[in-house]
């Protein structure tokens, strides 16, 4: 859309316009991910400190130690970059980037507001779940290629854990999709507009429980405590990260924080109304495309703020859990998944199915009927509808 504008208005050649727009989008997403990683590193230290009755970082950059991430980054870049002599050098170097690529690709299909998405995919939910499951591949590669038994143990634990937790995670994602009737994340988000009671988490009691199962499974699939068995420092030195140092180590962590934020964002869209706040401020203030294009854009900006806040709160909850709960044993991890999460998720699936059959409108009164078509900015319409050749 913007590429066409550049071509017609400024006479740029088509390849330059398309390539430039694609590059800018990629850089924006990369910037969001990097900024999130830096912010969360600092926040993790602060949260950990406060929960353990310490202060956390206080000195770097003035009052709250808010430049701590920059100092960490400089330290990591300056650190010596070691590769064990026994290691498979190619795979050892490749592994962090595999993790990072998978974590980054999730952002390609994640909408930040009404139509604010790099690639508006018709199968957005499915794509994100598929790509997020690939992040573990980097962990396994890193663990294997380090030629260290601690690394290999960590990698194998991670593989077993992630493959198991994909089952309940997939089931939990299917349930809101079933209620919404579409795999398109933008459409699912737009269905929940209006007051907070329209959020899918309040659609029925089964979806309410599903949300908590989803939160548990995201903890496990992003390899966060109490499920961080892959890097259990009390038993495995540092698990798959044992042989990594410096920049490569930090790439793994950027991937971890990036995927934490992405999974929280997915949860926000599927359950917590996406970019619609608990109070429909944008509609009250008349910020819609029906009034003016700029007003509509401002409404979308407000929505993006809503979405970022919700995803941020999700990450904060993950940190809170990490520093509160002790690490599980591997058998407890498997028991939680196979004996509790999977049957519960399946029961919630059947329950939601029966509920939507008996009470299609939900229990709470909705300010807009479910499935009502929300107004969308003109460029989010399918290309065929705009009469264009893709």
């Amino acid at each position: 859309m913007i590429a066409e504008y550049l071509t017609t208005r400024f006479g740029l050649p088509e390849w330059l316009a398309c390539g430039g727009v694609a590059l800018v989008q990629c850089l924006i997403l990369l910037g969001i991910m990097m900024f999130a990683a830096a912010l969360f590193t600092w926040m993790e230290r602060k949260v950990a400190g406060r929960i353990q009755d310490r202060l956390g970082p206080t000195r770097v950059g003035g009052r709250f130690g808010w430049l701590q991430s920059v100092a960490d980054g400089v330290k990591l870049l300056a650190k010596e970059d070691l590769i064990p002599g026994e290691a498979d050098g190619l795979l050892f170097r490749l592994a962090p980037y595999v993790s990072f690529c998978a974590a980054f690709c999730v952002y390609l299909a994640l909408p930040f507001s009404n139509g604010w998405v790099a690639q508006h995919l018709n199968v957005g939910v499915f794509f994100i779940v598929a790509i997020a499951g690939l992040e573990v591949f980097g962990v396994i590669l890193g663990g294997y290629s380090s030629a260290s038994k601690w690394s290999l143990y960590g990698a194998m634990r991670e593989a077993a854990q992630v493959v198991s937790y994909e089952v309940p995670l997939g089931l939990c994602v299917v349930i809101p999709v079933m209620v919404a009737g579409t795999l398109d994340l933008v459409a699912i988000g737009n269905m929940q507009r209006g007051w907070g009671v329209n959020w899918l988490v309040f659609h029925n009691p089964f979806l309410f429980i599903t949300f908590f199962i989803y939160a548990l499974c995201t903890l496990a699939s992003t390899n966060r405590a109490p499920f961080d068995l892959a890097e259990a420092e009390s038993e495995l030195v540092a698990g798959f990260l044992t042989e990594y140092s410096g920049f490569r180590w930090s790439v793994f962590f950027m991937a971890e924080y990036g995927s934490m934020y992405a999974m929280s964002g997915l949860g926000a869209i599927l359950f917590l109304g996406g970019w619609h706040g608990p109070i429909p401020l944008a509609e009250m203030l008349g910020l819609s495309y029906a009034n003016h294009a700029v007003l509509g854009w401002l409404g979308d900006l407000l929505g993006a703020g809503n979405f970022l806040c919700k995803a941020f709160l999700g990450v904060a909850a993950m940190m809170w859990l990490r520093w509160t709960l002790p690490r599980l044993r591997i058998d407890q991890v498997m028991t939680t998944c196979l004996k509790y999460c999977v049957p519960l998720a399946a029961a919630m699936f059947v329950g939601t199915m029966l509920w939507t059959y008996a009470l299609p409108g939900g229990l709470l009164p909705r300010s807009t009927p479910l499935g009502a078509v929300a107004e969308a900015p003109p460029w989010t319409a399918p290309r065929a509808a705009r009469g264009e050749r893709p």
Partner: protein
């Protein structure tokens, strides 16, 4: 004017083929798996290019994700030490070359034998008209409404076009039976032990 579709097609096709060759050439199980994943992911890119979003996501989920499990089992079953390389004899090469070559010739013959694929109309309609919105038609087809076949004029033919629900159910029940069988085979066998051995074991644990 550059045809971007062709450019990206060539790019993804090259990646697919190059990594497929690398799978065959490399001798380390894990490197093979990495190449296989790159090749399969590039195939998924080809599907996205053909505006088949659903199949592309499926490819990522099933094939690329499934290779992960394959990799784990490959490492666990074959590696006695770190980084074992496989020894491949010339006889293996010959057998594999014969089987693979025969399949390749068969596929090439099949692909070039359909006259309808060579016309200009097919080339012009290459990016699908729906722009990747394939999920709803697939879902309807599963329920018995073939959106693509609604215009079928011949009533006799139209009666024969059914949905995919029955084949889907047959396959899923079949898979369920396989899973139950696998669980049965892999279950821990209860052995008859002397009665006094059991409390000992629990005490030491």
């Amino acid at each position: 004017m550059i045809n971007w579709h062709t450019c990206f097609f060539l790019l993804f096709a090259t990646i697919t083929c190059a990594f497929a060759v690398a799978v065959v050439v490399s001798a380390n199980v894990v490197r093979m798996a990495v190449c296989l994943i790159a090749s399969l992911a590039a195939v998924s890119g080809l599907y996205f290019l053909a505006a088949a979003d659903f199949v592309a996501a499926m490819q990522l989920m099933i094939y690329v994700g499934g290779t992960l499990v394959l990799l784990v089992f490959g490492v666990m079953l074959t590696a006695r030490g770190p980084f074992v390389s496989m020894k491949i004899t010339p006889a293996n090469w010959l057998m594999a070359g014969l089987a693979g070559g025969a399949l390749l010739i068969l596929l090439l013959c099949a692909a070039t034998s359909v006259d309808a694929w060579k016309t200009a109309a097919v080339a012009a309609s290459a990016p699908a008209a729906e722009g990747g919105h394939t999920v709803a038609p697939i879902g309807m087809a599963l329920l018995g409404i073939r959106v693509d076949a609604l215009e079928q004029a011949n009533p006799a033919l139209r009666g024969g076009i059914a949905g995919y629900l029955l084949p889907f159910e047959i396959v899923s029940v079949h898979l369920l039976v396989v899973l139950v069988g696998a669980a049965h085979l892999a279950r821990a066998r209860r052995r008859r032990r002397p009665a006094e051995a059991v409390p000992d074991a629990s005490r030491s644990a």
